[in-house]
C-alpha cells in the first residue's frame, strides 16, 4: 500500500481501520519514560523484591550484562543526565575542557540517585572515565567501583585470559554482597536471554533499514535505552511487541536521505538532536548510540561442560565485537568496517556527531573521514553536548547536507 497517494483523511481512516497503532504509541511512551528515569525507579523496585538481588551500574560503552544477571543482579546503564539534569556540583570536579557526561554522572551520584546501587563498572573508554572510577571510589559510592580494562590483545590465551580475570573479579565482588555463585547453568540462562535481546534489537534495526518511516530514530533510541534500565526479560517482551507492530505496513514513507550517525557511542546525544536529524531530511538507518546493546554481533555460545565459565563471553568479545574507537584494531581497521557497514545499510551519507572534547571520537574522525573522501562518500560533521538545547545551526547543516545529496548528486 503506497499510502502517500491517498488523501490525509482517508489515509488516517484506513490506518485506524487496518492498524490500531494506539498500543504501539503506549509502548513508545512507556519506553521514553523508562529511558530517562534518572531515579532508576524500576531497577530499585526490582531490587526491593528480594534481599539477594543487587544493582550494578555500568558506564558506556560495553559491559557483558550476562554475568550480573547470572549473579542475581540487574545491570543498569548509567548514561549521564542528558538535558534533564542541571549541573551544579559536577562542574567542580572537571575542567572546562572535559566532556559533559562525567559531570552529570557525578551530579547524580552526589544527589543520591545511585544510593541503592551495589556496585559500579567503568569500562575503559578514556582517561576521563578512569578518573571518574577513582572519584566514585573516593566518594565511597556503592560497595565496589571497578575499572574494567578491555583487552587490547586479541589472542585468546593472552587477551582472553585477561578479560576472563577482569570479569571474574566483578563476580567475586558481587559474591561478597549476595553470596550467589554463578554456575554454568545460571550463566547459560542469562546468555540465552541476552542473545535473544540482541537478536530482537537487530531485527528492529533491520526493519528500519528497509522501512525507516515505520519507527522514528528517536523511538528506536527510547526503546533500546529502556533496556538499559529494566530486567532483560521485561525488555525482551517490549521488543517483541514493537516488532509485531513494525512488521506491518504502517506510516507514510517520505523522501529523505539515508544516513549513518557515528561518534555518539559514549556521551549520548540529546533526543532533540536525534529528532532534528530526521526532521532535517534524513532517515537514520544505522548509528552508534547505545552501542553496548549491540556490541556483540553474533549469538554468544552457551558454556559446555568442558569450557571454563567465562570462556564463551571472552570469545565473543575477542571475535564478535563491533568496531569502536576504544578498541585497538590494527588487524581489522575501523575505517574498513565503516565502509562495509555503509554498503550493508545502503546509506547516502554519514553524519559524524561527536561530543565536545571526546578524544576517542575526535581522534578517529579524521581517519574515518579520509576513508569517506577516498570512497566518494558524503559526510557532514558537528559537535554536541548531552545537554545541548539549540539545534538551529545543526538543522541548517543537516538540511543543507540532505538537500545537496537529494538534488545535486
Amino acid at each position: 500500500m503506497y499510502i502517500c497517494k491517498k488523501s490525509l483523511i482517508i489515509y488516517f481512516l484506513q490506518q485506524n481501520k487496518i492498524y490500531d497503532l494506539e498500543p504501539l504509541k503506549d509502548i513508545l511512551s512507556k519506553c521514553e519514560e523508562i529511558a530517562f528515569d534518572l531515579d532508576f525507579t524500576r531497577a530499585k523496585e526490582w531490587k526491593s523484591q528480594d534481599k539477594k538481588r543487587v544493582i550494578v551500574g555500568y558506564m558506556p560503552i560495553y559491559f557483558p550484562r550476562e554475568i550480573v544477571h547470572a549473579a542475581n543482579g540487574l545491570s543498569v546503564g548509567i548514561l549521564g543526565g542528558g538535558d534533564k539534569k542541571m549541573i551544579i556540583k559536577g562542574d567542580a570536579y572537571y575542567q572546562s575542557y572535559i566532556c559533559h557526561m562525567p559531570r552529570s554522572i557525578i551530579e547524580l551520584a552526589l544527589d543520591g540517585n545511585f544510593d541503592e546501587f551495589d556496585g559500579f563498572i567503568f569500562p575503559s573508554i578514556c582517561d576521563v572515565i578512569r578518573n571518574l572510577s577513582g572519584t566514585f571510589q573516593i566518594l565511597g559510592k556503592g560497595k565496589f567501583a571497578k575499572y574494567l580494562d578491555y583487552p587490547q590483545n586479541f589472542k585468546s590465551h593472552i587477551g582472553g585470559e585477561f578479560y576472563e580475570q577482569e570479569l571474574q573479579h566483578i563476580l567475586d565482588e558481587i559474591y561478597k554482597i549476595n553470596q550467589i555463585k554463578v554456575t554454568p547453568a545460571r550463566l547459560n540462562e542469562s546468555i540465552r536471554l541476552f542473545n535473544k535481546n540482541r537478536q530482537l534489537t537487530r531485527e528492529i534495526y533491520d526493519i528500519r533499514q528497509k522501512f525507516p518511516w515505520r519507527l522514528t530514530a528517536a523511538d528506536v533510541y527510547h526503546i533500546v535505552r529502556a533496556g538499559y534500565m529494566i530486567p532483560v526479560e521485561e525488555h525482551n517482551a517490549i521488543l517483541e511487541n514493537v516488532i509485531h507492530y513494525i512488521k506491518e505496513d504502517i506510516n507514510q514513507p517520505l523522501d529523505k536521505i539515508r544516513v549513518v550517525v557515528m561518534g555518539a557511542f559514549c556521551e549520548q546525544p540529546p533526543i532533540g538532536l536525534i529528532k532534528t536529524i530526521e526532521l532535517a531530511g534524513c532517515y537514520v538507518v544505522e548509528d552508534d548510540f547505545l552501542l553496548g546493546a549491540r556490541w556483540i554481533q553474533k549469538d554468544i555460545e552457551e558454556i559446555k561442560s568442558e569450557n571454563k565459565l567465562l570462556s564463551t563471553l571472552s570469545y565473543a568479545f575477542l571475535n564478535n565485537s563491533t568496531f569502536s574507537s576504544t578498541i585497538y584494531d590494527v588487524d581489522n581497521p575501523k575505517e574498513g568496517r565503516l565502509l562495509e557497514l555503509i554498503n550493508r545499510r545502503n546509506v547516502d551519507g554519514i553524519i559524524f556527531a561527536a561530543p565536545s572534547f571526546c578524544d576517542p571520537a575526535l581522534l578517529d574522525h579524521p581517519i574515518l573521514q579520509k576513508a569517506c573522501e577516498e570512497n566518494d562518500i558524503r559526510y557532514v560533521s558537528f559537535l554536541y553536548n548531552e545537554n545541548t538545547g539549540q539545534f538551529k545551526v545543526i538543522k541548517e547543516q543537516i538540511g543543507t547536507f540532505s538537500d545537496s545529496i537529494k538534488l545535486w548528486d
Binding site: K6, E396, T400, D403, L407
Partner: protein, 273 residues
C-alpha cells in the same frame, strides 16, 4: 522529460503560509498560488485547509499531485512527500523568478539570508543574520503596528521620507525604544519607517559583501514586496558603489514555495527513473 506533472510547494513561514501549484516540466508554469497570514492559529491546521482549498479550486485531488514539497517550518507537515531546506528553495525560486540571477536575498519574517547561486539555482555560498529580530520582517511588522499602520502601507509611506532617522541596528528592543523616542521627538512616520528600512538594508549590504555577491540580485520573501525596503537596499548599494543590480518580483513572496514545487518535480522524476 515526457509528461507534465503537477506539484505543490508549501512554504510555512513564521507569519505567512504560501502555496504554489505548479505544472512541472522543463519550463515549469505556475498554475495557482495562495498566501495566508497565520494569525496565531495552528500552522499545520491552516496548511491542511489551504492545501484542500487550492486543490479543490483547481479540480484536483490529493492523488493527482506528483509531489507535495514543504519548506520553511514545514518539517512537521504530515501530508508532504518531502521537505527542502529554505535556502535551497529560495535559491531555486529566485532563479525561476529572475532567470540568470547570481544572488538571492531572502528577506523573511525572522531572518535575512544572502545566497550566492549558479545559473541553475544551485547554492554556492550563503550568509544570514544572527538571532536578533532587528534585521527581520517581523520587526518592520511590529513597528508598523505600533505606529498604527497596516504592513501593506509601510512601503509607500517610506518613499515619502525626507530626512530618515535610523534606529539601533543591533537590538530589536533598543530599536523599539529608539522608535518610541522618535515619536515623542516628533519625527514623522515616513522618516521613522525609512530609517528602519535603511537599518535593515545596512545588514543586507553587509551580507551581500560577505558572500561576494554578483549581479543580478533577486530579492525574495515577504519584505521584497515592500517598495520602501527595496528602495533602501538600492540606495545603500549606490552609496557603497557596489556593482549590483537589484530586482524584486511581484511573486517574490512565493519564491520558497516555487522552489519547493520545482524541486519536488525534479525529485519525482529522479525517484521514478
Amino acid at each position: 522529460m515526457e509528461n507534465k506533472i503537477v506539484t505543490l510547494g508549501i512554504d510555512i513561514g513564521s507569519s505567512n503560509i504560501k502555496l504554489v501549484l505548479m505544472e512541472y516540466s522543463e519550463n515549469p508554469i505556475i498554475l495557482d498560488k495562495k498566501v495566508e497570514k497565520i494569525r496565531k492559529r495552528n500552522s499545520a491546521e491552516v496548511s491542511y485547509q489551504l492545501i484542500n482549498d487550492i486543490l479543490e479550486k483547481n479540480n484536483l485531488k490529493y492523488e493527482d499531485l506528483a509531489y507535495l514539497a514543504s519548506t520553511g517550518e514545514g518539517e512537521m507537515l504530515l501530508r508532504k512527500k518531502g521537505h527542502f531546506y529554505s535556502m535551497t528553495t529560495h535559491a531555486k525560486g529566485g532563479a525561476f523568478l529572475y532567470p540568470g540571477s547570481l544572488t538571492v536575498v531572502d528577506m523573511g519574517s525572522l531572518y535575512v539570508r544572502a545566497i550566492s547561486i549558479n545559473e541553475l539555482g544551485r547554492v554556492l555560498n550563503y550568509k544570514m543574520t544572527g538571532q536578533c529580530a532587528s534585521g527581520s520582517g517581523q520587526f518592520v511588522e511590529n513597528i508598523s503596528r505600533y505606529l498604527g499602520l497596516a504592513i501593506e502601507e509601510v512601503g509607500d509611506i517610506s518613499l515619502k521620507a525626507t530626512k530618515p532617522e535610523t534606529p539601533s541596528g543591533i537590538c530589536a528592543v533598543l530599536a523599539e525604544t529608539d522608535v518610541i523616542n522618535m515619536v515623542s521627538r516628533g519625527i514623522t512616520t515616513p522618516n521613522i519607517i525609512k530609517g528602519i528600512h535603511l537599518s535593515i538594508a545596512n545588514k543586507i549590504i553587509k551580507l551581500l559583501t560577505s558572500v561576494k555577491a554578483k549581479s543580478p540580485v533577486i530579492l525574495t520573501g515577504g519584505m521584497a514586496m515592500n517598495h520602501g525596503m527595496v528602495q533602501a537596499v538600492e540606495e545603500l548599494i549606490e552609496e557603497g558603489k557596489l556593482d549590483l543590480k537589484v530586482h524584486a518580483h511581484p511573486d517574490s513572496i512565493f519564491a520558497g514555495a516555487i522552489g519547493a514545487a520545482i524541486w519536488g518535480g525534479f525529485r519525482y522524476y529522479k525517484l521514478n527513473n
